[in-house]
């Protein structure tokens, strides 16, 4: 297939879609399916068949549309009109939508989602621009929306060096957490001398409470593949790997199909788009280890070994998979490549703040009205995310903290709600951008218990290679356990702080280095809660049971307990 064939294919598909007077887009990603999406889709199809309208009305099963807590979601696209969203659709509503809206043009009022909802209005869809509008299992749908044209353009009009320059100028930074400039990384790999290089997409997404990468892989797999192919061309690699978390079988299946479809049409594989560039992509399925998100551990896992990190340098860009230079980027980073090539670096650099360009996808969850997947321009304030897009805290409760960056991040208290969300500001607050999980907590969350929760996570996930992380996390967990059961002393608090510094400074990889972050940030902003737990043995949020007493207080406590038991 060459560029002209690609355009013909796009045109044919566009014409085919234009023949339908109305298209019903039905979300088929995990959250909507778990709230009954499959039955809704069946009902839509049955209703269309019954009214013999198959020629005018089409049902498309798409990826995620965003408002996951309101699922199942159905979008109605009538020619010449704006898209209309329906929430909490049941099979009955589905039949009504077909009869009233699709065929008679009368929207069904009660389940309608207002289109001026801040949830939609405040978002900027760059990476997710196709998500929820195309059928992820059909290559034609992606091509009809301009898919693979960016790859064709890069292959024909740009040299690998120019691609790297374009990415550098766009200001794109890695979305995997640390925010390393992507263009710089590409250029390093491009310049590394080797006859063999690799491109790896990091789709391990171990941060609990984050599911952006999964949604992108499930809703728009070809965009990730196209981004990887452009990267392969830019750095001179012929083989790519995409590492998908084991918990995401649907994403792996869709990627597998997408790769096969693209290979069949000559968009991947040997001689991509009739050029001299060849690029193969293979999938590797993870097996449930958080540390495999770390780049050196991820490479060990791709090579079939225990996912234990190794010290850097050498960086993967110098010596990665099987000793060859390897480019590792997050899945969302690859999702940004196509829009940059398509619209140009200038356009992309116009979105966001001075040092953080573009948009970021967040998985908004926890105690907010609207949970779901959102894509916002960098520099938006936390308040806008939580209160405008998220719709505020349910049940009239009070906002207490927003947690970003998962087990490597921290909790941001209410006084910083007006902080702009970008790499530097979040770091200054003691948290990190992370991969994009944003969990809102209300006054029912106890901060020492939150810190304990993340410490338990790091303790379980520590790979055991270096002592500070393996032993330090256990000791920190034990102290936090004592704080939350009432048997801690002020000395424990001091030890905890010492341990935090020690583990942060001396661990081998990012897991250990960032494991103390949740403790440090909660200590910084919610120290009074720690002191309440220790000095007054009370938990304001009512989470901790505080049944134990410090060892030294046992002398007084024991007779009381014996009396109570008698």
């Amino acid at each position: 297939m060459n560029r002209a064939d690609l355009q013909t294919m796009a045109q044919r598909e566009q014409e085919k879609q234009a023949r339908f007077q109305c298209r019903l887009l039905c979300c088929a990603s995990t959250p909507c399916l778990s709230s009954g999406g499959a039955a809704v889709q069946q009902a839509l199809q049955d209703a269309i068949k019954e009214s013999e309208a198959s020629a005018e009305v089409a049902v498309v099963s798409t990826g995620c549309m965003g408002p996951c807590s309101r699922g199942p979601v159905v979008t109605v696209q009538v020619q010449g009109e704006d898209d209309v969203y329906y929430e909490n659709v049941t099979p009955e509503t589905a039949r009504q939508i077909v009869a009233d809206h699709a065929l008679a043009g009368q929207p069904v009022q009660e389940k309608l989602l207002p289109s001026d909802l801040p949830f939609f209005a405040k978002q900027t869809k760059v990476v997710l621009s196709n998500s929820g509008l195309i059928d992820p299992e059909r290559l034609e749908d992606y091509v009809a929306r301009g898919g693979y044209l960016a790859l064709a353009y890069a292959l024909r009009e740009m040299t690998p060096e120019e691609v790297c320059v374009e990415i550098s100028q766009s200001g794109l930074r890695g979305r995997g957490g640390a925010g390393y400039p992507t263009g710089l990384k590409w250029d390093l790999v491009r310049k590394a001398p080797s006859d063999k290089k690799y491109v790896v997409a990091n789709g391990d997404e171990g941060d609990p409470g984050a599911y952006m990468d999964r949604t992108l892989m499930e809703s728009d797999p070809h965009r990730v593949l196209e981004g990887m192919a452009i990267a392969g061309y830019a750095v001179g690699a012929e083989q790519g790997f995409i590492y998908v978390r084991g918990e995401y079988p649907v994403a792996a299946k869709r990627l597998e199909r997408a790769i096969r479809a693209a290979e069949r049409r000559g968009l991947l594989g040997s001689r991509v788009l009739d050029s001299s560039f060849s690029f193969r992509i293979d999938i590797r399925i993870g097996a449930g280890a958080f540390v495999c998100g770390e780049e050196t551990a991820l490479m060990a896992s791709i090579m079939g070994r225990r996912g234990q990190p190794v010290p850097r340098p050498p960086y993967p860009a110098q010596s990665g998979l099987w000793g060859h230079p390897t480019l590792i980027n997050n899945v969302e980073t690859f999702g940004n490549i196509v829009p940059i090539i398509e619209h140009g670096a200038q356009w992309y650099a116009g979105i966001g703040t001075e040092k953080s360009k573009g948009t970021k996808i967040f998985a908004l969850a926890g105690k907010v009205e609207n949970t779901g997947l959102i894509e916002v321009p960098m520099g938006i304030t936390l308040r806008e995310i939580v209160f405008d897009i998220g719709g505020g805290i349910p049940d009239g409760r009070e906002f207490k903290a927003a947690q970003t960056g998962g087990p490597s991040g921290g909790c941001i208290p209410p006084q910083f709600l007006d902080t702009k969300v970008d790499y530097e500001s979040l770091k200054a607050l003691g948290s990190i951008m992370g991969s994009g999980g944003l969990i809102v907590m209300d006054d029912q969350s106890c901060m020492p218990d939150v810190a304990k929760f993340f410490m338990e996570f790091c303790m379980d996930e520590s790979c055991g290679k270096c002592v500070p992380c393996r032993v330090g996390t256990v000791q920190m967990y034990r102290i936090l356990q004592r704080i939350t059961d009432g048997s801690a002393t002020l000395q424990d608090l001091e030890n905890l702080e010492d341990l935090c510094t020690m583990v942060r400074e001396t661990s081998l990889c990012g897991l250990g280095q960032s494991a103390p972050n949740p403790v440090l940030s909660t200590l910084k902003y919610f120290r009074n809660e720690y002191e309440d737990h220790i000095e007054r043995r009370t938990c304001e949020a009512g989470v901790c049971e505080m049944t134990e007493v410090p060892v030294m207080a046992l002398v007084e406590e024991l007779p009381r307990r014996i009396r109570a038991a008698a």
Binding site: Y211, M303, G437
Partner: protein
């Protein structure tokens, strides 16, 4: 439950001798001899062999092979690990090390019914711990364990990726969102009491359909 290999075929000493001589991360691309039919005649081994062939017996494919093995057998028995070690010419210690490193691989059989409760951050904030505590109390087992009668396993997960529906859990493969401790207990009791087919291993039928035997 499974005794797929007769131990006389697989004495540890000779395996150890054979594998000790090898340097682990050596990549072998081609095996000289085609794998013989498995002595136990269990068709599920054909599935493993197919994956082995697909990856041309490369030692790097160990995790893929273990995935297939676990899918076919439900869990990774010691015999199974030895079989994989032998086919890939890796030391058993290497295979055991990888199998025990990753949470996904289970070396113990799973119960007939299972419930996976998400303990990710979003679910934790929505009090998933209370759900786990309720189930633990009701069945007298810790998370990650199976009841002595092999009927029910309780597991926890790190995030099921449906955080919008927190707290989330999976009962026998069905995802349930916005659950309460009482609701979960009822759902689990219904699943355990119901005569739903065991979900663990691929049934003999399924295998026959899937494998093209030569």
């Amino acid at each position: 439950m499974l005794c797929v290999l007769a131990h006389k075929d697989w004495d540890f000493l000779s395996i150890a001798k054979e594998t000790l001589a090898m340097q682990p991360p050596r990549t072998r691309t081609q095996r000289e001899v085609a794998p013989a039919e498995h002595p136990s005649g269990d068709p599920r081994f054909a599935l493993i062999d197919r994956t082995l062939k697909r990856f041309r017996f490369q030692q790097d494919a160990l995790i893929e092979v273990l995935h297939t093995a676990q899918e076919a057998f439900g869990f990774l028995e010691e015999d199974l690990l030895l079989y994989v070690a032998r086919q890939l010419k890796l030391p058993p210690s290497w295979v055991y090390g990888v199998a025990t490193f990753y949470h996904f691989f289970s070396l113990k059989p799973q119960g007939e019914h299972n419930c996976i409760v998400c303990m990710g951050t979003a679910c934790y904030v929505k009090r998933a711990a209370e759900i786990v505590a309720t189930l633990q109390a009701a069945y007298g087992i810790e998370a990650g364990h199976t009841t002595p009668d092999g009927k029910f396993s309780l597991n926890t997960a790190r995030c099921l990726g449906s955080c919008g529906l927190a707290p989330v859990l999976i009962v026998d493969g069905e995802v349930l969102g916005r659950e309460t401790p009482e609701g979960t207990l009822a759902a689990v009791q219904a699943a355990v009491a119901g005569k739903a087919a065991p979900k663990v291993a691929v049934s003999a039928n399924g295998v026959d359909e899937e494998v093209e035997l030569p």
